[in-house]
Amino acid sequence: MANIISDETMEYVAILAKLELSEEERRQAKQDMEKMLDYIDQLNELDTSGVEPMSHVLPVQNVFREDVVTNGDERDKILKNAPEEKNGAFVVPKTVE
């Protein structure tokens, strides 16, 4: 069964992905995704009823530690990577009106 993704779904996924695609990119992305989903659909040939989803292959458990600071003050090194900084803080566009 060939997957058809609507323009609305593509728009919605782009919002989730925080990507702004050009018209051409969007057309290509839609085509690529439909093709991939057709391929992924082979998984439906497998009977997985009663099989638990496996997120990790090894047992993972929550690990607790004391809440103490172990790293030094690296503010300046970290801020050096900032696209924009001012007075020891990251500068971002206005976020609340």
Binding site: V13, A17, L21, I40, E45, P83
Partner: protein, 490 residues
């Protein structure tokens, strides 16, 4: 130059014996880099000054006995998605084009503590997404065995650097085959450890449940020695595991008597190149002659590994890569109106096409309404694949097969059809889903002179089984066949 031919362990031995200094070793690597980089382009960043300074320090510490490990003074390269304090770490992406980490990955710290000298950072597919190293924002890396061909990927730069003798070993990362496949294409030896063996702290995440750092080297012995340094529990990665059996070099014995080797018939079928098939089966014969039992069996579910993998890896990537938003580091777009447009434009301009393709797919399979049908279905498939390996390892100590269906394709042939490129991962991807270790060892060349690798897979935490088999094979191969690791660019 003879020095550059040495294995990492042999170089380390000569440095300890005072026959060569760490500074000389670094200088030799740096002049080799100058000689071949214009053709190979394995590196994104070469830290000439830093490496020489560090070499002088290390040499002093070797002389005064502070450093006495097997790899002290050995120059190495690090894949560009593994953080190095003070040294550019770009992940092959424009979005991290100017990123200088404030800290080093645990794996890098472990190497440095052992006296290894970092020469620089190696090229890779953008965010490790790709199988050819052609999706890097900094241009392609070429296969040192034939410059018209790709080195494989995503750790293509690391493997090419080892093959072209631009370093004595390198670190790579493997999410779906990214150490093993380029090792196979470049005629070097690459090991993906059991999930959790090497700390992922400081490895820029792609698919967190699948990613592992591992060694890429000239031979099996070097891989074992490097893994000994890398392996261990790290508090900063809660999925890392304390290994009680961490003396991996103990497994380097030329003895496979009684070892049970299984070859999945599913790995020898349609799509596998005839020359690759023949070379891999010849490798199996070497083990058989040395006393291993070898038989074919049916692993099953092989064809479902790729769709399950691309669903899971893309889902995790879409989440992991949400941190690149133009706020704290990396690229920020020049013109925008408000916060959301800044996010979207920074990401859209900063990421390349393959990364965007996977983020879109990942966002889709995690979105409400599709989560159960795609993401959870893939995780259930993963459980079945794990069970198939559990059954196989009841009967066999080692699973032997090809690394990739073909040898290295020509540059420019792969990216036009992503799905076709993904199919090339068929023999490597299951190991990441099942968490098991795998090694690629050179086993010959095809009629075009391109290297072929044989893959040995073991059960979780059974690196020693595959190291023993790989080492024995390597010793047997030296008697009989070509050693592709020796023939790269002149």
């Amino acid at each position: 130059m003879e020095l550059l031919e040495l294995s990492a362990l042999e170089l380390g031995r000569r440095i300890r014996a005072g026959e060569i200094s760490a500074v000389e070793a670094v200088q030799a690597s740096l002049s080799r880099i100058k000689e071949v980089e214009k053709d190979v382009h394995a590196y994104v960043t070469v830290d000439e000054e830093g490496a020489l300074t560090r070499a002088r320090e290390v040499q002093k510490q070797i002389a005064d006995g502070t450093l006495n490990g097997p790899l002290a003074g050995v120059p190495a390269a690090v894949k560009d998605n593994i953080c190095t304090a003070g040294l550019l770490t770009t992940c092959g992406s424009k979005i991290l084009g100017n990123f200088v980490p404030a800290y080093s990955a645990q794996a890098v710290e472990s190497l440095e503590r052992a006296g290894v000298i970092v020469l620089g950072k190696t090229n890779m597919d953008e965010f490790a997404m790709g199988s050819t190293t052609e999706t890097s924002a900094w241009g392609v890396t070429r296969n040192p065995h034939n410059l018209a061909h790709v080195p494989g990927g995503s750790s293509g730069g690391s493997c090419a650097a080892v093959a072209a003798k631009e370093c004595f070993f390198a670190l790579g990362s493997d999410t779906g085959g990214s150490i093993r496949q380029p090792s196979s294409f470049c005629g070097v030896t690459g090991l993906k450890p059991t999930y959790g063996t090497v700390s992922r702290y400081g490895l820029v995440a792609y698919g967190s449940s699948l990613d592992q750092i591992g060694p890429i080297a000239k031979n099996v012995g070097d891989c074992a020695a490097i893994l000994e340094i890398l392996a261990g529990r790290d508090e900063k990665d809660s999925t890392s595991v304390a290994r009680a059996d961490g003396r991996f070099t103990e497994a380097l014995t030329d003895d496979v008597r009684g070892l049970r080797v299984g070859i999945p018939g599913d790995y020898l079928g349609e799509g596998l190149d005839g020359e690759v098939r023949a070379a891999v089966l010849k490798a199996a014969d070497v083990l058989k002659e040395k006393g291993a039992s070898v038989e074919e069996f049916d692993l099953s579910l092989t064809e479902y590994a790729i769709p399950a993998y691309y669903t899971i890896a893309s889902a995790e990537a879409s989440s992991n890569l949400s941190r690149f938003d133009g706020v704290k580091y990396g690229y920020r777009t020049k013109e925008f109106d408000g916060l959301h447009q800044m996010y979207k434009r920074s990401r859209s301009e900063g990421f390349g096409p393959e990364v965007k393709r996977r983020i879109m797919l990942g966002s889709f399979v995690l979105s409400s309404g599709y989560y159960d049908a795609y993401y959870l279905k893939a995780l259930r498939t993963k459980a079945l694949i794990r069970q198939a390996f559990d059954r196989a390892f009841e009967k066999y100590d080692v699973i032997l097969g090809p690394v990739a269906p073909t040898t290295a394709p020509k540059l420019g042939e792969s990216l036009s059809d992503p799905l076709k490129m993904y199919l090339g991962d068929i023999y490597t991807i299951s190991a990441n889903l099942a968490g098991i270790p795998g090694i690629s060892v050179p086993c010959g060349t095809d009629s075009k002179g391109l290297p072929i690798g044989v893959q040995l897979l073991g059960d979780c935490f059974k690196e020693k089984n595959i190291l023993r088999a790989a080492y024995s094979y390597e010793r047997g191969r030296a008697d009989t066949a070509s050693d592709p690791a020796k023939k790269a660019v002149e």
